[in-house]
């Protein structure tokens, strides 16, 4: 589904991502790990269109997407969450989700201005679907509160829900468990399993190794912007290079 070929991006003299290739199939959870500053979030920003890579291609369902704008990539079926919570704080929870549907709704300017019958029906459908989605992630009873009144963990879940609203085939999760307590982490794990059943592929950055080893089907390890290793979780856990990178052991 997603195929990244030899992507390189540098900022000035710093090579943030160096010759990275990876593959994300549908219905699987692919983990991206590495020490702080390894270039994981930069990689997400490249895939989601925030940065344009200097070299390499990103192919999503047969279309080259490198260099496209974030809103275009969202429309093609890639949704994301952010490392730092990036919700629309002064909007209600349900409105956050409906904004997530933006690229799947059709009303244009004039049908909105005159509130045509079609536009009204679409709005009704959108809010119903948003409620369903909130029910799916377990935030239905919060629908009409402002997004910033939610707890930290709930805000992270809302970001995932907002991402799901665009009906993506690929979901990029940037440290979804950060700041969550143990119970919330279990719920997040269950939610991801539910998302997989919709045949959505997940690419996830996470520092919580326990969570990561439990959920990920396959792992890629970044270090200093380079791909250090990749493989199934058991192999990665046993890989001496990976252990050295994390523990700073001698080489």
């Amino acid at each position: 589904m997603l195929k990244v070929n030899n992507v390189t991006l540098s900022f000035g003299g710093l090579v943030a991502n160096n010759d990275i290739s990876m593959e994300v199939p549908a219905g699987k959870i692919i983990g991206l790990i590495g020490p702080n500053g390894a270039g994981k979030t930069t990689f997400f920003n490249i895939v989601s269109g925030v940065y344009k890579p200097d070299k390499g291609t990103i192919v999503f369902n047969g279309t080259e997407i490198q260099g496209k704008r974030p809103y275009q990539i969202n429309k093609l079926g890639i949704a994301r969450t952010y490392q730092v919570i990036n919700l629309f704080k002064k909007m209600t929870v349900i409105d956050n989700v409906v904004v997530g549907m933006h690229s799947r709704l059709n009303q244009g300017y004039f049908s909105a201005l005159f509130k045509t019958k079609k536009a009204r029906e679409e709005e009704k459908m959108a809010y119903e679907k948003a409620l369903e989605l909130l029910d799916f992630v377990g935030l239905k009873n919060r629908a009409y509160q402002l997004a910033d009144s939610l707890s930290y963990g709930e805000q992270r879940i809302l970001e995932i829900c907002r991402g799901l609203a665009s009906n993506p085939q690929l979901l990029l999760l940037d440290e979804p468990a950060a700041g969550m307590n143990a119970t919330e982490k279990v719920e997040l794990d269950q939610l991801m399993q539910k998302i997989l059943k919709k045949d959505i592929g997940i690419l996830i950055i996470e520092h919580d190794m326990k969570l990561m080893m439990g959920v990920a089907d396959y792992l890629y390890v970044l270090n200093y912007g380079k791909l250090l290793a990749h493989g199934v979780t058991a192999d990665i856990q046993a890989n001496p290079e990976v252990i050295a990178a994390y523990l700073g052991g001698d080489e």
Binding site: V50, N74, K75, D95, L113, Y127
Partner: protein, 331 residues
């Protein structure tokens, strides 16, 4: 927002019907109590409500500052005055064409300016306002009458002339209702949600599929249209326009009204326009103090009432209805 829940509330219908009846009777009441000046003020309130509601779309909802909206006010006023006098277009049509021109200008300004962050955007819009002011003050061929200004005709619809405050009030009321309905529709739609998303977090909005540049341009153009409609109403109500009305001071007045009343709401611009205009009337005898007063108002609002008067009312209402208990979800 939660309009799905509000639907079919008979009490609300009766309230809005009563409100409309009051608005319709207002000039009659003013005439009965022998205070016809009140009708003139009401007409100005209507004009300002439209202008400020327009700015609310771009500033309140979309989060993009404009300190140059007097320019669009001028395009509406001069545009309609010139189109009707030089090209003999019926005024009611020129009052529509001029705002369309303003909307196009707004889009042309917003397209390059949409990349600018807040403070640079405010500088760019100040510059735009100043350029427009200079252009009407020293116009090519003196078409705007330069410093002398222009006399404008009154609106005449099928032989009925809106040549008194009493008559013009009803035309203005119709415009207000029409444009506020359009604004309400727009802000509660996919387009309006995109505006607010851009205001709240442009980065995330783009990530959620919103083409931020496109929607900033749309917000700017719509807001220019509204303010230009107000400008054209001003021109054909007062009967005379001159550059003095379209200085930066006018832009500041718009923003003051909006901040004072409260941003991103329907009542905010209405409350702001009424409050500031009444204050203006009260301070009529010391006209050179006006800017000072606006300055104080802005300081008060920014420091003490970030939500404006309407925001304060909303907060009080919320506190009143949620006394004691913890906030409970609506569903």
């Amino acid at each position: 927002m939660n309009k799905l829940l509000e639907k079919k509330n008979p009490a609300k219908h009766i309230k809005s019907f009563g409100f409309l009846a009051l608005l319709l009777l207002l000039p009659v009441i003013f005439t009965a109590v022998d205070f016809t000046y009140g009708i003139t003020i009401s007409c100005f309130v209507a004009i300002y409500v439209i202008a400020v509601s327009g700015i609310d779309i771009v500033f309140g909802y979309c989060g993009q500052i404009s300190m140059g909206h007097a320019a669009f006010y001028a395009v509406g006023a001069y545009g309609s005055a010139l189109l009707s006098s030089k090209l003999n277009i019926p005024i009611i049509i020129s009052m529509f064409i001029a705002p369309v021109i303003a909307a196009i200008l707004g889009a042309l300004l917003a397209y390059p300016a949409s990349k600018l962050v807040f403070h640079f955007l405010s500088l760019a819009t100040i510059a735009f306002g100043e350029i427009t002011y200079q252009l009407i003050l020293q116009s090519p061929g003196g078409i705007t009458g330069n410093a002398v200004g222009l006399a404008t005709k009154k609106v005449n619809l099928f032989g009925f002339a809106f040549n008194t405050s009493f008559r013009f009030y009803y035309l203005a009321l119709a415009f207000v209702l029409l444009l506020l309905a359009a604004k309400t529709n727009l802000v509660s739609s996919r387009v309006g949600r995109a505006f607010v998303a851009i205001r709240e977090n442009t980065h995330a909005a783009e990530g959620m599929g919103v083409n931020a540049r496109k929607y900033k341009v749309i917000a700017f153009a719509t807001s220019a249209f509204f303010t230009a409609v107000a400008g054209s109403m001003y021109a054909h109500f007062v009967g005379y326009i001159s550059p003095d009305t379209f200085t930066n001071k006018q832009s500041v007045l718009f923003i003051t009204m909006l901040l004072f009343g409260g941003t991103a709401s329907k009542p905010g611009p209405i409350i702001g326009a009424i409050a500031v205009l009444l204050l203006n009337e009260a301070l009529r005898s010391m006209e050179n103090m006006q800017m000072l007063v606006y300055g104080f108002l802005l300081l008060i609002v920014i420091l003490l009432l970030p939500g404006g008067i309407f925001g304060m009312i909303k907060d009080l209402f919320y506190k009143y209805t949620h006394r004691g208990g913890k906030e409970n979800a609506k569903s």
